[in-house]
Structures are given as structure tokens and as C-alpha cells.
């Protein structure tokens, strides 16, 4: 059905790079699910249906990883033997951390006062910053192979993801 030992990139028929053609990724993903999804094997026996379930879950995992900029970076670094989120590795540039502390304080205030425009502003700021980090990450991995720089970028992206979730939750609170 599918090769369970293949990495995410070869599973979805993409070159193993950080910069990917997301439209192609979407196409490959849909085509693959079109043949392996459990609904395509509803008439198969128990074993066949179980296999379809596992294959489809495996492809969903690959797609979700590659579609997400931070997860894709982390995964790609992993393929290069670099663990980007090891517990021991706490060093983050101080200026980055300070900036994020300030940002989180502002978010907290905006949440408490129900200031939606401020929250939406913060979201937009994060989106810009993420785009810059993604470009940096692509350069570091696909270009010079600067894995250490790539690792820092991935960790920053992860950090921003968490801040984004906080803002999302704060917005949800103001909508309740």
C-alpha cells in the first residue's frame, strides 16, 4: 500500500528540502489519500481495513508535519541528525527572549481589557516575524547547511507558535 519505512518527503513525492511547493504537496497528499483512505477500502476484510487505517494515518502525519513550517524544519533537522528541541538545549538569544516577554505582557493586558484590535495587531506582528524566520530557516538548511543556525530558527518558530496560540485563546475568550 505505502512504504511505512519511507520518510515524509519521499512518501509525498517531494525533494528533501525545506523550501517546498505547497501546492504540489497538497496535490500529492490528496492523490495518495484518494487511493489509501479507509473509505476506499470499506469492502476489504478486517486486515485490509486495518492496513488502510494505518497507512492513511501515516500519510496524515507526514502531511501535517510538512505543511507546518516549524514542524517541517524540526523534522528535516532530525533527518540530518540534529535534535532541535532537546531538553538540555535551553539557550535562546537574549534579545529574542526579552522581546517575547514584552509581547506576552502586552497580550495579557489586551486580553484582560478585551482589546481585540490589540490582539489582532499582535497576531499580524507574529505572522511577519514568522515569515522572516521561515526565510532564514530555508536559507540555513537548503543553502549553506548551517544546521546550528537552523536549529535556533526552529526553536524561535516553535516559541512564536505558542505565543500565537495564546493570542488565539485570548481572542476566543473575548468572543465567548
Amino acid at each position: 500500500m505505502i512504504d511505512f519505512s519511507a520518510d515524509h518527503f519521499s512518501l509525498l513525492n517531494l525533494p528533501r528540502r525545506y523550501r517546498i511547493d505547497t501546492a504540489q504537496l497538497d496535490r500529492e497528499y490528496r492523490a495518495l489519500q484518494g487511493t489509501i483512505h479507509p473509505d476506499r477500502h470499506a469492502g476489504a476484510g478486517d486486515a485490509g481495513r486495518r492496513l488502510a487505517l494505518q497507512a492513511s494515518a501515516r500519510v496524515n502525519e507526514a502531511y501535517a508535519t510538512l505543511r507546518d513550517p516549524a514542524a517541517r524544519g524540526e523534522y528535516l533537522l532530525g533527518l540530518h541528525g540534529v535534535v532541535s528541541l532537546a531538553d538540555t538545549d535551553t539557550a535562546m538569544p537574549l534579545d529574542f527572549l526579552t522581546a517575547q516577554m514584552e509581547r506576552r505582557e502586552a497580550i495579557g493586558e489586551a486580553r484582560d481589557s478585551g482589546d481585540r484590535p490589540a490582539l489582532e495587531n499582535a497576531l499580524a506582528g507574529i505572522a511577519t516575524e514568522r515569515a522572516a524566520l521561515e526565510a532564514e530557516l530555508a536559507e540555513a538548511i537548503d543553502g549553506q547547511g548551517e544546521l546550528e543556525a537552523a536549529r535556533v530558527a526552529v526553536r524561535k518558530l516553535r516559541f512564536l507558535d505558542r505565543v500565537k496560540h495564546e493570542i488565539d485563546d485570548a481572542l476566543t475568550e473575548t468572543e465567548a
Binding site: 490528496r30 489519500q33 484518494g34 483512505h37 488565539d168 468572543e175
Partner: protein, 625 residues
Amino acid sequence: MALLQISEPGESPAPHQRRVAIGIDLGTTNSLVAVVRNGSAEVLRDEAGRTLLPSVVRYEENGRVTAGAEAQRHLARDPRNTIASVKRFMGRGVADVPNIENAPYDFVDAPGMLRLRTVAGPKSPVEVSAEILKALRARAEARVLEGTSAELAGAVVTVPAYFDDAQRQATKDAAKLAGLNVLRLLNEPTAAAVAYGLDNAAEGIYAIYDLGGGTFDISILRLTRGVFEVLSTGGDSALGGDDFDHRLYCWVLDEARLTQLPPEDTRLLLIKCREAKEALTLHGVARINAELSDGRKVNLTPSQAKFFELTQHLVQKTIGPVKRALRDAGLAPADVQGVVMVGGATRMPHVQRAVAEAFGKPPLNNLDPDQVVALGAAMQADQLAGNRAGNGDWLLLDVIPLSLGLETMGGLVEKIIPRNSTIPIARGQEFTTFKDGQTAMAIHVLQGERERVSDCRSLARFELRGIPAMVAGAARIMVTFQVDADGLLSVTAREQSTGIESAIVVKPSYGLSDAEIARMLQESFQHADDDMEARALAEIRVEGEQLLAATGAALAQDADLLDESERAAIDAAAAALAALLSQGDRRQIKRAFDALGAATGGFAARRMDRGVQSALTGHHISELA
């Protein structure tokens, strides 16, 4: 059953072998069953020509159970034993149901799921729902199967997209209890998207806004050349038209200074409020006229403005989830091409206005909000039954509505699978021991978005035992969550540091143990002995017809393989079976059926030899090496 059928390659089996599969919309207020016939989906009607089956079940002292319009007539007269909106109680305990104090039932709280006390004993919401499903199954059997040799292959049953695991499991159990083979649990908005999308050849981003009697769902989908991809979903599984009725009811109590009503009066006024709510939509005016059991009279005329004022906050409650769903999908309202309205409660003008405002465009109302879910379910059922092979198949990629996680130290939840993940999905997380020599670990599975265990819904608890004694932090326990295409979770835990695997699979079951389901099944079979016999008879008749048809076809092709006495024996056995098919009882038919099978055994073997030989003669020897 000895005859081998050999059909031409590429030739489809005879039309009578088409597998009939139905789609069921098991609604809070109304339920429907639909089926695909001659390539198009249609909702099935009852003898009186009605499509909607009111989701009401009545239990009587003599053991009689009725579902639908007949039960509905007794709502106000026999409120304790006549159960409406049972869907609100699926997979729920007493503490989980909002406004439960106003429901005119006698609840028994039970671990996992409440029960309703009736004259026929305490009933689980699963059993009550099964009665609705049985009525729909009977309708399908009468309308589609009767007089044909087709069999019911199974059903797609819809659930609100925002149903959690407990509510889904309860729905699946109800279907099993009703004797249905569940091909798939399908999310209601996704079903609606299928019906809408295929009918309109829609492409792009669509939102489905579904406000029914008791549940609210919002799903955002991307439609791309036959792929229906759910990007995000949100909702409230305890918000619907019933709550609007309830607001009006509270207003009536206030206006008429009523307190402490008996259940008959509560039910009567709730019915009147619902009628008034619907009248306000249709005519802009309404009157609530009722005589209570103590002779007091209620006579009120709520204005539309009053009604909007009473219920605007309920409408607003749907907009938060809409915004969150858009955010989760990473989209702005302007990215949405069309908003499809589903569910009877979307007819209300203030709902229409709020949705138009949230999306910045008027919603689409060009389909029947009552039928679209059942139609989509029927289309999916037809595909899953294998009736469309290669014939313009579409694909549904759905998501889980709520995050799944595990309890960790300090009463916090570690999320394993985030909401809006595409299913099926499997994901593992490693945990370790907290104390030296710890040999067991408590695993607590939760669903919800909040960080604290107490704010999430507990799905299951189990213990992993037999962990080899080691220092704290040395054991490696992998806990794997798997969510299948029905959105149902199973959990596996395995200790892997030592190579000793102690794995346990947990299917959370929320209040209904397998033993209880087995007991309910048994009971329903006892009540339905006649039913069973009738079913078995229908089945053997179908098989008999198929065997006769196959025998006829085989004789037409290969009669030269038989000598005269063999041929005579087969003809006699076939004639005996044919004669019994319409009048004989099940046992007689079975005997004749077996006799024909025995008479044709040698014939089948010779036909197979010939079949193999003719297949071989078409090839060169070299090809077979």
C-alpha cells in the same frame, strides 16, 4: 452453496446483488432516512407520506414501544414516558446537561451516562435512540427492500461534528442495538457539504452552519475536484432550537407568574413555545394559548422584537465558534465563498442576519435544510457499499473537533492530538515513572481544550501494570492514541525500555459496558423474536433465489457436462426449491436449498475444471513457466 459462479471479466454481478446502504440523520428533533436509487439520493417517506420522523419515543406499561409521530402525540399527556430530544443526553451524565431541571423526566444518574426512568424501567439514551433507528430501518426495509432480493448492507449514521468521543460511541452503540451495520459515523456538516457540493459542482472554501434542535456545528471545508477537506470545525453540542423554546418558556412563566409546574404542563408549554417560535418566523406574529392541568389559562402574544431580545444572546453564542473555526483554518471571512445553512433553526431571521454579518455575505438557503444531511449520508453510504466503484468517487477528509490528551503531574493535561487534526490519526507520547520501583501507572484519557483536568471531559481511566521495577525516570512507557475515520479513539500503552511489552488496548465506553450492550441486544431480540424469524425467512429466500439464478445460468452454459440422470436430479431439486420459496417456512426452504446445493456439487467441480482449462488454452506454454 456449491455452484461456482464465473462471470466475464469486467462484467458486474447481476443487478439484484446491488448492496443497499442507507443514510440516517439521527436528529435531536427530527430523524430521516435516505437512499440512493438509480444514481440519485432521495429521502424515504412513511406510509403517510412524511419524510421527517419526530425523534420521540414512548414506552408503555404493556411493553409496547412506539417512535415518531404516534409517540409525539403523547408528549404532553404522558411526559415521563414519552422521550423527546434524547440526543441531548447521549454520552452525558446529569451534571453535564444544561437546563436539565426543566426537562420533564425522571432522571437516574449513572456513572458515565444518565438513565431515564419510565414505566418500562430505566432506559439509557442509547436504548431510546435505538428505537428511533429501528423505526427508520423498518421504513427503509419496507420502502426499498420489500419485494426485491436486495439486502441491507449497512448504514451511514450522522453525528454533530462537535460531538465528543463519548457521544459518538453512544451513537454507534445505538445503531448496533438497532441491528444496523454501521459503515461510518459521518459529521453532519460534512454530509451536508457532500450533498451541496456534488449537486452544485462547488469548488473552493465553504462554511456549513448547522443549527438544529439541540446542537450547533460550524465546519469550514475546502472543495477541490471531488475532495472534501474539512479545515476546521467548531460548535456547541448543547445549543439549538430547544434553547430558544426554553427562553420563551421562561418568559411565559414570568409573564403568567407560574411556578412549580407538573411535567405535563411543562411539556405543554414547551410545545406551545416551539409553535410560537416557528410562527414568528413564518408570520411575524404568534399567540401562546394553553390550559394548564389545574384549569388556569395562559394567553400571551410574544412580539417578534421580544423574541429576538430574549434569544439574541443564543444567536451570538454561535458566532464565537464561527470566528474560532475561521482562525483555526487560517482564513478570513472574505476567503469563504459560500455559507450553507443547515438545520431548521437557521430559518429564524436573526440567525440569518448574524451569519450574514459574520461572513460579510448573505448565506445560501437554496437547499432544504431539513433533508440535506440525510441526502449526503445516503450518498456516502452508497459509495462505502461499493456501488460506485470507479464512477466519479469523491473523498472525505474530516477532522476531530476536540483535542485529546492525558493527565500528567499536577492535574494538568498533556495534549497528544490537537483539535482539527485530520483523521484517521495515530500519535504516541513517551512517559516515564515518577518513583523508584514504580510498577504501575495510572492513565487518564481526556478530551477538551483546557489545561486543567477538571475542565476537560474524562473519557477513560486505566492502569498499566507489570512495569519492571526500575529507578524513577528509567522506564519508557509509550502511550498511543488512535482515532479512526469515525472519529473514535482507542488507546494503547506499552512499556518498551526492557523489551518486555505489556500492551493494553482501551476502548473508552462511557457508562455502557460491553456486557450491558450485550444484555440490551439480548432483550431486544427476545422482544423481537418474530422479527428475527421474519428476517431469517427473508434472508433464506434471497439466498434461494440467488442459487436458482446461478443454477440456471450454469445449466445454460455447461449443461453438456451432465448426464441425463444428473440433470434430472438437479432439475427436480431446483423445482422443489422454487415451489417452496414463496410459501414454505424457513426450515423447509433451508432443506430444499441444501438439497439443490448437494445435487449441483459435482457439476460445480467439473465446471471449474473446464473454466481453468479454457483459461489456460488461451496462453502459450512459455507464459506459464
